[in-house]
């Protein structure tokens, strides 16, 4: 007998339809999988046999051939366990009343017959829906995630037995209701708040500007100054994600297998902080199946690189493409995948290798050449993509004079959203919708400096030894500062403030 069940596998962020054909015929008992299965698929034989047996069915002592069509693309993962087991039962005439042609079946089996959750349910469901398939059988553990896919008729199952009952008679089963995403109800669970950050006037202000204009930012300060805490606070002042944004993020996180099954959707902006020993594939994505890397996991959120000069230079250079294009293309022998990677880069660094340079209380033991080498590890092209450099106060808690309570994230967020609204209007109909992404045309159109502003910029070049590349950065940041104030024209004071955020361009360490 023959059975044919529809399932899906992952290819990058897309689902790929797979027909699982099972034939049982007389002959020496055996089991063969064809159609480019990977190790996890091949091993499914043992799981399937044990699960069938332990669910009270009979494992056919015949020759079983499993074909995964299309035969020319590589199949991965354990999500074919459930359809294969069901296929064997159908082909073995143990489920005579089974109705399954309209169903797409996904799930991993454990030996006792329970169905385990799998990765990538959301992108698979979305792809399948686009191909006209609307009815799904998925593991119970994935039901939250699936519930956000609009229009899908999803039946979660807990065991192989339950799946068999579903196939034979659907009357007792109700598809899970589709949920709508409400950002305010679910977000703001970041666990940190800008109210926790004491002092740090310049750093707070710089972060506010950076978020408002979509700029990348570099914080320079001694260890223990609070760089990490402030970086963690960055997502709390970013505008809430829209449903579309949340789905994009959820798809990536689902494929990477880091989605919280209890939530089923990523409703807060992601904050990713890879360690400085991270390799290029870890950062940009890779591995045999071109998995998404940290830059994609940080999509629509924040990528925080603490101790930025400690990263391998090549690793940092690999960030340039995603910073420029907002996507990262991962090419591997078996497939090429493109993952979105539009993130805000927040980098942190010490002012020198020992961290005490410029401190009033502790002595720096680094030589000037050591310091220069340390700072030079951040290459020009990378610094080119970071609009703001800010010095974090290297001040001990006792020295802290400011007693006024700090402003909380909600207040800052309100200002950020106002500034973003101005930018949305300005860039309406364009691909880019923040000041940081302005090209030369936009600069000419929206960033004309008046006389005093131009004079400030020119004076800054002379007095502060600015390098040439600082120019456009300063103007973009000045535009954002003006937006935060609601000013239509960039004024001298906006330029003056923007100039403050170019510490590394000043050849500070010479």
């Amino acid at each position: 007998m023959l059975s044919k069940i529809k399932s899906y596998t992952l290819e990058g962020l897309m689902g790929l339809g797979v027909d699982i054909e099972i034939d049982i015929n007389a002959g020496l008992p055996g089991y063969e999988t064809v159609g480019l299965p990977d190790a996890a698929v091949k091993e499914s034989r043992e799981r399937v046999r044990a699960a069938i047996k332990n669910s009270g069915f009979k494992y056919p002592t015949k020759r079983i051939t499993v074909n995964l069509a299309p035969a020319d693309s590589k199949k991965e993962g354990a999500l074919f366990d459930l359809p294969i087991a069901l296929g064997i039962l159908i082909a073995g005439d143990q489920l005579l009343k089974a109705q399954y042609k309209d169903l797409t079946i996904l799930g991993e089996l454990s030996l006792d017959g329970t169905v385990r959750p799998v990765n990538g349910i959301m992108p698979i469901l979305i792809s399948a829906m686009q191909e006209g398939r609307t009815k799904f059988v998925i593991p119970l553990g994935n039901q939250k995630e699936a519930s956000y896919v609009e229009g899908a008729e999803v039946y979660p199952v807990a065991t192989l037995r339950e799946a068999c009952m579903l196939l034979c008679d659907r009357t007792g089963f109700i598809p899970i209701p589709t949920k709508k995403f409400t950002p305010t109800a679910e977000s703001n669970k970041y666990g940190v708040d800008f109210a926790d950050v004491k002092g740090q006037f310049f750093a707070r202000r710089a972060i506010e500007i950076a978020v408002a204009g979509g700029h990348n930012i570099l914080m320079i300060g001694p260890p223990g100054a609070g760089k990490t805490l402030m970086a963690k606070c960055v997502p709390t002042i970013m505008p809430d994600m829209t449903f579309e944004e949340a789905i994009e993020v959820t798809k990536i996180h689902s494929v990477a297998g880091i989605l919280d099954a209890n939530k089923g959707i990523v409703s807060t902006r992601p904050f990713r902080a890879p360690h400085h020993t991270a390799t290029i594939p870890a950062l940009t994505g890779g591995g045999t199946f071109a998995r998404p890397g940290e830059v994609s996991l940080a999509h629509n959120g924040v990528l925080f690189l603490d101790e930025a000069p400690e990263y391998q230079r090549r690793t940092l250079e690999a960030l340039r493409q995603p910073l420029e294009d907002g996507v990262v293309t991962v090419s591997r022998a078996r497939l090429t995948a493109e993952y979105p990677a539009r993130f805000m880069l927040v980098a942190g660094m010490n002012p020198c290798p020992c961290g005490n340079f410029g401190s009033m209380t502790r002595e720096c033991r680094c030589t000037p050449s050591e310091i220069r080498r340390y700072v030079n590890k951040l290459s020009g092209p990378l610094l080119d993509r970071i609009d703001l450099h800010v010095e974090v106060d290297g001040i001990s808690y006792d020295e802290l004079q400011d007693e006024t309570p700090s402003e909380d994230s909600a207040a800052i967020k309100a200002r950020v959203e106002a500034a973003r609204a101005i930018q949305r209007e300005r860039f309406e109909g364009k691909r880019n919708h923040t000041n940081s992404g302005m090209d030369n045309n936009d600069l000419r159109k929206y960033c004309r400096l008046d006389g005093p502003g131009d004079r400030v910029l020119r004076e800054a070049y002379e007095r502060l030894n600015l390098t040439a590349r600082a120019g456009t950065r300063i103007i973009k940041v000045a535009r954002t500062i003006a937006d935060l104030e609601g000013a239509s024209q960039i004024k001298a004071e906006h330029v003056a403030e923007a100039v403050q955020y170019r510490s590394l361009d000043r050849k500070y360490w010479e």
Binding site: I220, G221, V392, D402, V456, A496
Partner: protein
């Protein structure tokens, strides 16, 4: 072509004499020695071509300060604003092969003094001299370069642009007629002029055999002030200047030191032209030396956002300097 009197032509011809004493003797008896002053016309034509003017010791405009010299130059060739010789001058001298420290010191004193209206005199050599001129020009002050060759010559070649700029904005001066090459014996002669037109001489950095030491000696002989910037005791390029300090020079570390000696008022931090709040902030920084902005906000009672704006403005205007960790100090040239 400008018309010159016969005595002027005679003086011009006298200035061609290489020996200093003889030159002055010739000048004293100018008309007797040079009856055929028409020979001077060639020189005058050349001066015209290079835009050089001349003034002789018989002229009314001849600077009084030079007349005090034992051997006053019979003629002075110049390009630029001669009135600068009537202003308060300070001469800055030092090695040609100066260290970075010396160059910075020269530039610092030159720009700081020039900002306070003092004219910086130097010899347009490489190293300290060039730094002194640049410093003065940077703060839009006055500067005089005294050359040891004819003004049609460009010496040293590296300072060609600087020379041009000084001719435009300051004064180029030489006692040698056009065409005179810069020979070694002329530099000590030139040094006596540098010393005599100034209130004093500042030695920024000098090695053991530096020509700057000759200028320093001239200054002492004429009873002028001699200021010396302390140098690194391990550096050979500071040996001469440190030796001066031991014997006779006055050690200076800030612009106020020199201002006080020239009869000006050393009022510590220069607060001219600042608003009330800016003065408040500067005074607070001055008390602390180097202060964090949050400390300044507390000391002055100005709110943090306001003080941040003030500090930004002060920094852009070069009045305060920001250090790592957002500490601020007063920029060196405000002292």
């Amino acid at each position: 072509m400008k018309e010159y009197q016969a005595y002027q032509k005679a003086f011009i011809l006298a200035s061609f004499e290489t020996d200093l004493k003889k030159r002055c003797y010739l000048a004293d008896n100018a008309l007797a020695n040079f009856r055929r002053t028409s020979e001077a016309d060639k020189v005058i034509a050349k001066m015209e071509k290079y835009g050089i003017s001349v003034i002789t010791s018989e002229d009314d405009e001849y600077p009084g300060r030079l007349q005090q010299l034992n051997y006053a130059p019979p003629a002075l060739y110049y390009k630029g604003n001669l009135d600068l010789l009537k202003t308060d001058c300070v001469t800055i001298v030092g090695s040609r092969r100066a260290s970075r420290y010396g160059v910075e010191a020269a530039e610092y004193f030159a720009s700081g003094l020039a900002e306070r209206g003092i004219t910086i005199v130097s010899g347009l050599a490489m190293g300290i001299d060039a730094a002194a001129h640049r410093g003065a020009l940077k703060s839009k002050g006055n500067t005089i370069a005294i050359m040891a060759c004819g003004l049609d010559r460009v010496y040293p070649q590296e300072n060609a642009e600087l020379m041009e700029e000084i001719a435009q904005k300051g004064l180029l001066l030489s006692e040698y007629p056009p065409g005179t090459p810069p020979l070694a014996f002329r530099f000590p002669e030139r040094n006596r002029i540098m010393a005599t037109i100034s209130k004093g001489v500042l030695v920024a950095e000098a090695g053991k055999k530096s020509g700057a030491l000759i200028t320093a000696d001239c200054a002492l002989e004429m009873g002028k002030e001699l200021w010396v910037v302390p140098g690194n005791i391990f550096s050979r390029s500071c040996e001469g200047s440190n030796e001066l300090l031991k014997e006779c020079g006055r050690l200076v570390t800030r612009i106020g030191d020199i201002i006080a000696d020239t009869g000006g008022e050393d009022d510590g931090v220069n607060l001219v032209g600042l608003t009330e709040n800016e003065k408040l902030v500067l005074e607070a920084i001055d008390r602390e030396g180097t202060a964090h902005y949050s400390r300044l906000a507390q000391d002055t009672g100005i709110s943090i956002p306001d003080i941040a704006k003030l500090l930004m403005k002060l920094e852009l205007n070069g009045i305060v300097k920001r250090h790592t960790g957002n500490y601020y100090s007063i920029a060196k040239n405000r002292h």
